[in-house]
């Protein structure tokens, strides 16, 4: 944490938003930079304390194990940037995996099932967005209803967990990109990385992306400025629905199963990741990169707990809480000081 208050502005940021100020990071970047710095500190502590924590694969596993969360969190980032929230994502994952598994078991070809399940989440997102926009229902409630609906449907379809034995699915699930002996990432990671990249580009370089920020900054003003507020808002929930079902697909690759209880509480993890990454819950401020870091923080905490290896259930929770606390408070203090 030595020098976090004045880290150099990353080259990339300068080209996007920098301009003339070189001596000080843009205040908007501080939360992200602080998170990054603290993440490195935390990782170093892990490496120092646990044997083989420093293995490349341990680090890569965080991505392998959290690819679906990352995708969902990216969708959530858009929603939160507009000042909304999407509680349905975990349930949409459950619905996606259940439908996919059911249809695949029934012998449908993967080429049909895949787009179909992606469509399900997208349509649900579209529906929630439309209700939120047209009927002025609070996002929290609209998406909570969406959560009940999606999980309810999943439960209705099948209350048991369903194995996926489809060849295509298992092949993808077991696809590995190996770099070195025992060092690999899964296809999920690649997909998640692509999603992150696209999302970052969309947010920084497209009108849609900027409208998202504008709405989060002040939706009334955005409307008066002649921005397509309604369209953007609906699009954002649609996008989140899509990301959730894509997350569901990744989840089904990851677990090769469909189950109505998959992804329970995942919405909270996604929201936490986004907020830890420095996105303001009130909207208008934050970056996808921050979300990636937020997911890494959660993953790293999980990894540390596993490496510790002698925590029983309640100590696990308490330690997760303590680590979260330490991280967030430090992040807050660093950010405050730098500002």
């Amino acid at each position: 944490m030595i020098d976090v208050s004045t880290p150099p502005t990353p080259q990339k940021n300068r080209s996007i938003l920098g301009g003339r100020r070189v001596y000080r990071p843009n205040t908007k970047h501080i939360p992200v930079l602080a998170t990054l710095a603290l993440l490195i500190v935390m990782y170093s502590i892990g490496v120092y304390n646990y044997e083989s924590f420093g293995d490349t694969q341990v680090f890569l596993n965080i991505f392998v194990d959290n690819a679906f969360l990352l995708v969902v969190a990216v969708g959530m980032t858009f929603v939160i940037l507009t000042g909304g929230i999407d509680l349905s994502v975990g349930a949409v994952i459950a619905l996606t995996t259940t439908v996919a598994a059911t249809l695949l078991t029934a012998g449908w070809p993967a080429g049909v099932v895949l787009p179909l399940v992606l469509l399900i989440g997208t349509v649900m997102g579209l529906g929630m967005g439309a209700v939120i926009h047209f009927f002025k229902v609070e996002p929290f409630i609209a998406t909570l209803a969406g959560m009940f609906l999606a999980r309810g449907l999943a439960l209705l379809i099948d209350r048991n967990s369903i194995p996926i034995t489809n060849d295509f699915w298992t092949q993808i699930a077991q696809k590995r990109f190996r770099f070195d002996d025992g060092v690999f990432i899964s296809l999920n990671v690649v997909i998640a990385a692509i999603v992150v990249l696209i999302a970052a580009l969309v947010l920084a370089w497209t009108r849609f992306g900027r409208n998202v920020y504008a709405i989060g900054g002040n939706a009334d003003s955005a409307l008066l400025m002649g921005l397509p507020v309604g369209r953007t808002r609906i699009a954002v929930y649609t996008l989140s629905g899509f990301c959730a079902s894509l997350g569901g697909v990744l989840y089904s690759f990851y677990t090769s199963s469909g189950y109505s209880l998959h992804g329970q509480g995942l919405e909270l993890d996604a929201i936490a990741a986004v907020v830890i990454g420095g996105v303001l819950l009130t909207g208008g401020s934050g970056y996808v990169l921050g979300t990636v870091l937020g997911v890494l923080v959660l993953g790293l905490i999980q990894t540390i707990i596993t490496f510790q290896g002698d925590l029983n259930s309640w100590w696990t929770r308490i330690v997760v809480g303590i680590l979260l606390f330490a991280f967030i408070v430090l992040q807050r203090l660093v950010t405050r000081k730098a500002k």
Binding site: Y50, E51, S52, D55, Q57, V58, N61, V64, D65, F68, L69, A101, L155, R159, N160, S161, I162, P163, I164, T165, T170, A173, Q174, Y251, S252, Y254, T255, S256, S257, G258, Y259, S260, L261, H262, Q264, G265, Q302, T303, I305, T306, F307, Q308, G309, D310, L311, N312, S313, W314, W315, T316, R317
Partner: protein, 309 residues
């Protein structure tokens, strides 16, 4: 009390010395039963000199997969886990297999057709438990022809024990048309919900003869509701539950419950034996059943003093 110590592992990873390292991923701590299960494993690991790496999945499959993957990277000697769900273990277990780490399933089975992915499965058979409950009921009402109105308190919707205990029970009683399940709702495996749902059953169902609860806790909650309604549990309404935790056994001994199907959490000693054998490369049977029985009030009175959990 809150004195239970944190595991027994030393914190350093396996290898080096000849101590066996066991990576164990538990479902969570969602019930007293589960905690007893954890305790049994931790205690028997300590007493048989096995270095235990314990990880709690907080009820999430993804956490469990992560944990297993971490065990693999840490190169533990044996991996054991109680799967949160039945499906979806192929990928990660293949990784374990590739890394030559034997895997033991505890408590719950998985449905992967490739049985070479794990060495053995030790645990109870939930369908069988449901059947035992049903068989007792059939015997209890043998020779009577009046309709028997049954209400059922299910576990959490979708959870394997809930699904299997329901279907096992249903399979047995469907042979006789006099058994009628008039209402079946989830009590989420908890006392409060068991009580709440039973309260409503008592008002919406005019005539209840039998209560079948998927675990003791829901049954215990239901007993309170029955008493509050001015009825006598065990007499006015016959009660069957599953688990046989201490509180349940006490109620059974008091005659408030009529029959309990045991589902033992004390897998520890059996598991440690298997771990040693797996490490030594001995052949072990694919399926090891835990020794489980059923209890009537009389048996409960006998067993209670020596009950551990």
């Amino acid at each position: 009390g809150g004195d239970s110590d944190a595991g027994s592992g030393s914190g350093s990873s396996g290898g080096g010395d000849d101590k066996i390292t066991l990576g164990f991923s538990q479902v969570g701590a969602e019930s007293g039963w589960r905690t007893a299960n954890t305790k049994s494993i931790q205690e028997s690991a300590a007493s048989s000199g096995i270095d235990l790496k314990f990880s709690d999945a907080q009820g999430k499959q993804e956490n469990q997969i992560k944990a297993i993957r971490n065990f693999i990277t840490q190169r533990v000697d044996v991996i054991a886990f109680s799967p949160v769900v039945e499906s979806g273990w192929g990928t990660v277990l293949k990784e374990a297999k590739d890394a030559n780490i034997p895997v033991i399933l505890t408590d719950r089975a998985i449905d992967d057709p490739d049985t070479t992915l794990y060495k053995t499965f030790i645990g109870s058979d939930f369908v069988e438990e449901g059947k035992k409950a049903g068989e007792w009921l059939v015997k209890e009402y043998e020779g009577k022809s009046d309709t028997v109105n049954i209400v059922e308190l299910q576990g959490s919707p979708g959870a394997a024990p809930a699904n299997d205990r329901k279907s096992g029970f249903a399979d047995v009683i469907k042979s006789e048309p006099k058994f009628k399940v008039v209402a079946s709702q989830t009590g989420q495996f908890t006392r409060t919900d068991g009580k709440a749902v039973m309260e409503t059953f008592l008002k919406s169902q005019p005539d209840i003869d039998v209560l079948y609860a998927h675990n003791d806790d829901m049954g215990l909650g239901a007993i309170e509701a029955i008493e509050a309604a001015g009825k006598k549990p065990g007499t006015d309404i016959k009660i069957i539950t599953v688990d046989a935790v201490k509180d349940g056994m006490t109620a059974l001994a008091d005659g408030k419950i009529n029959f309990i199907v045991e589902c033992s959490p004390l897998l520890g000693p059996q598991l440690m034996d298997l771990v040693k054998k797996a490490k030594a490369g001995e052949t072990i049977p694919q399926r090891v059943l835990t020794e489980e029985t059923t209890f009537t009030p009389e048996q409960a009175k006998e067993a209670l003093p020596s009950r551990k959990y």
